[in-house]
Amino acid sequence: MSSLATSESAEQAPSLPGQLRSNPSRKRPSGTGRPNASQSCPRRTRDNLNGWGFAAPFLAFFLVFLVWPLLYGVYMSLTGKSLTGANDSLIGLANYAEALADADMWHSLGNTLYFTVISTVPLVLVALVMAALVNVGLPAQWLWRLSYFAPYLLASTVVSLFFSWMYNPQLGLINDSLAKIGLPKVAWLNDPNVAMWAIVIATLWWTVGFNFLLYLAAMQNIPAQHYEAASLDGAGAWRQFFSITLPQLTPTTVMIVLLQILASLKIFDQVYQMTAGGPAGSTRPVVQYIFETGFTGYRLGYSAAISYIFFGLIVAVSVMQFFITRRRSA
């Protein structure tokens, strides 16, 4: 609503032409000649009104459901606010100090980073391999796209139900297959050393199709002449892939890696649904820790503080992304 106020003040502009023109960046109309000036003023007013008018519905939602909670969260993080309503008073940075000394916070943050590292590599590499295979011009294009991309359309809960069932230690398909080829059974979701990898496998199956599509789109935009010239020079398929396709894809790869890192850092759904963070907290990501301190532990203020520590991490990665992509495009 405050945004509308600015447009209203601009509406009074016609009665104050001098003041209006004092804005240096807006000299254009007055420079072109006096006769136009009387016309251009109402036009400018109309533009201001229209501009903020068109922006108003989005702005209303934006301010109420994004900006306000973001700012209010900062305030909450400085209080002892709890769901039981106990302590509403400001306690300064005490929540942040406590969080930084909280071993559980660091452990969950470590789990999130660990997941991000070990999931990003296969999620990018397998997507690249899939796209390269399909891009060779295999028959039945729709079949490959359907198989690789379809899981991306599933809700996390569906994926978790599928994989919890396949990971079942006694009755599960995976252990049964392992036993058939003479390998030992694995306690997939119940072994602290394996559980995170089990989550990564499920995540790979679920979301690799998205990266696959981005790679495929980029590959199909590589000009055909590049390949024609190379094959005239006698370069084989492998050679063409490594000396034409891969270099041409570098900007896409950078974008996919960065988007994947940002997506992986937000890991929560699959873990919460498949292991609930266990066994022994070995898979609990930081978003789940935020959720638990807020809604199970009722400590909203403390939970908000951890949210902003997590936010700081995301901002750092995003700023990195901004500079990397800007340097590339410059």
Binding site: S3, T6, S7, N50, G51, W52, F54, A55, F62, F65, L66, P69, L70, Y72, G73, M76, L133, V136, G137, L138, Q141, W142, L143, L146, S147, Y148, F149, A150, P151, L153, L154, A155, S156, T157, V158, L161, F162, F163, W165, L171, L173, L213, L214, L216, Q220, N221, Y227, M255, L262, A263, D269, V287, I290, F291, L300, S303, A304, S307, F311, I314
Partner: protein
């Protein structure tokens, strides 16, 4: 013309692929490519296949210690019948459908309006507005759950569909995608209408929007899939069984049905079915849409 501009970052049809690489004989190399692609496809389809087989088993066969693709006592639709009799899945599907549709409609309307202003109208404060919207792309939704929950409690919206819908309609990245598309529409098309004294709103609805159908569809697809599958926020903001969305409802099934594996899988498949069906019918549009909007970020 508008469709042409859209295909720039998106997928071209399969025909282009064939043009580029003239049809080759089935060499050893191509056979190997086909084999690897097929192995990956099989691996990627197995979870669907195994869930389907399990869902059509009796509970006894599903929980049998001997894993079988063909159950000893034959296939049965009992699990599906039980799930339907419970009535939750149809209800949750409806809840997901109307909340996702509302989110998509509101997102499209408010994003297209502000994107048009940013693209075409020269108003004071535009640069600031643009910067703020772009900067907000980096805000991760999990950061907002605590204050947003508190806010929803204050607004008495917890356990209503409003709590699910309203916070999900802000997609700054999509505003940017739309703005970039509007930027490419030639201004001359609008100038005649401006001369005739048409209002901005008329120009927007009668000239710009019809030309923007492909990008509007792409944004709608992206937003709808996201809303349909969103778990964290609906999970936090709703408890009441009658307004749960599918992803959240399924989470409660897991504990309710416990070790009834056939019913678990039947529920999961029923939940997956709507989007998979839509995908089968609109494969090209969906793939194009995701590829167009995908790199803009989530």
């Amino acid at each position: 013309m508008a469709t042409q501009t859209l295909t720039r970052p998106a997928l071209r049809g399969t025909s282009a692929t064939h043009l580029r690489q003239p049809r080759k004989k089935m060499t050893a190399g191509r056979a190997a490519v086909l084999a690897v692609a097929a192995i990956l496809a099989v691996l990627w389809l197995i979870p669907f296949a195994w869930a389907t087989v399990t869902a059509f088993k009796s509970e006894t066969d599903a929980a049998a210690p001997k894993v079988s693709w063909i159950p000893p006592s034959g296939f049965t639709a009992d699990a599906f019948i039980k799930v339907f009799q419970d009535g939750n899945i149809p209800l949750w599907t409806w809840n997901s459908l109307y909340t996702s549709a509302a989110i998509t409609a509101i997102t499209l309307a408010i994003s297209a309006l502000v994107a048009y202003a940013l693209s075409r109208i020269d108003f004071r404060g535009k640069k600031v507005l643009m910067t703020v919207i772009i900067a907000s792309i980096i805000i991760p939704p999990p950061v907002l759950i605590i204050p947003l929950f508190y806010q929803m409690v204050a607004l008495h919206m917890i356990d209503t569909s409003w709590a699910i819908i309203l916070p999900q309609v802000i997609h700054p990245a999509m505003v940017f995608v739309l703005k970039k598309f509007f930027d490419q529409i030639p201004r001359e098309l609008e100038e005649a209408a401006v001369m005739d004294g048409a209002s901005r709103m008329r120009i927007f609805t009668q000239i710009v929007l019809p030309l923007s159908r492909p990008i509007l569809a792409a944004v709608a697809i992206f937003v709808f899939i996201g809303a349909w599958n969103n778990f964290l926020w609906p999970f936090i903001s709703t408890n009441d069984g009658s307004i749960l969305t599918l992803p959240v409802g399924l989470q409660t099934i897991k504990s309710a049905y416990g070790i009834q594996y056939a019913q678990n899988m039947a529920s999961a498949l029923l939940a997956a079915l709507p989007l998979i069906l839509v995908f089968l019918f609109f494969q090209r549009q969906i793939i194009k849409g995701v590829a167009t909007t995908g790199l803009a970020g989530t």
